[in-house]
Amino acid sequence: MSYDDYLAGKPVIVTAALTGGVQGKEAHPNLPETPGEIAAAAAACEEAGASIVHLHARRDSGERAFSTERFQEVTDAVRNATDDVVIQHSTGGTGAPDALRAEPLRTDPAPEMASLDMGPLNRYDRLTSENTRATVRMLHEEMRERGIKPELEVFNDGHLNESLAIVDELDAPPYVNLIFGPGTLSVPHPRSLLTMVSHLPENAEFNVLGFSRHQLPLTTMSMVLGGHVRVGLEDNIYYRKGELAESNAQFVERAVRIADELGRPVATPARAREILSL
């Protein structure tokens, strides 16, 4: 993907990351946690123009849940509340054992997509999400067995190296999510994004995720570079400085407006499936 794709008006895929596993209602009262809340948020985001919803599951207390059963509740609720949106399950889970990490892949039906973290990252002062090559391989093999498209989560340049090393094992096109933010994430700056995009294989589709205040500028830049965007309360709870966002859909609406101004149509779920060969 490239600037030529922007000039050609290639459709942009908008992913809505609704919930996440790091923050909850203690950080934002409107962050969806229950299956019903997540489903309602998914429906609002689809209505606003999102073609993919990235899903996590929670316990009733707001704590993280990884079990197939809880993901089944969430994904059933989302499927019932939406028309055609592409469902992407998270397999991330700092501190959680590998066996649990695979459980979100085992819903019936399987999700069309799932995240695949490409390497380690730090959390707080003492936690590391290890994501060893063995873990990545195990999750990827299960995704292939179940026909699930991986979204490669590239938290920094080293993870891009890891992605390039397995690109021949991926069904085309590889779908790479470039992530920018603090700590062990890629330095959140336009220069970093340009560098990362310049190293991608020509046949790759890429998505951009910028944490907190970097969400708006870096996703906008992605649209100019022919990439796709991920927005939502998982990654950013502020609509602008000092102002909490109203909802996930509010972020999607803004992304759609920007895409429209830039002359890139927003992909329907069906078009997103074509672009990503789901």
Binding site: G21, V22, Q23, G24, K25, E26, A27, R58, D60, S61, G62, E63, R64, T94, G95, A96, P97, L100, R123, Y124, D125, R126, L127
Partner: protein, 83 residues
């Protein structure tokens, strides 16, 4: 599974926030706990507050509070180093 943190509580209300279901609350930090931190508080997945939680370590004198939240004689202890 390791023991849960002695500072972990589950509350519906605190500090001006209220929720439909009881949520993990850290009595050391005096705030509701983020979901990922709660796994440390609850001792899930082999995580241990005594080694993995900087809040616990900053607030605890190891001679007065053990990881089970009780002193060696079995009495509950809420002795906290408030710095």
């Amino acid at each position: 599974m390791t023991d849960r943190c002695p500072y972990l509580d589950y509350r519906r209300k605190a500090g001006g926030q209220s929720f439909d279901a009881a949520r993990p609350y850290c009595t050391a930090a005096e705030e509701f706990v983020q979901p990922m931190r709660a796994d440390i508080c609850a001792g899930r997945y082999g995580l241990d507050h005594a080694t993995d939680c900087e809040i616990y370590l900053a607030h605890t004198d190891d001679t007065t509070v053990d990881v089970a939240g009780a002193t060696p004689d079995g009495n509950e202890s809420r002795e906290v180093d408030d710095e």
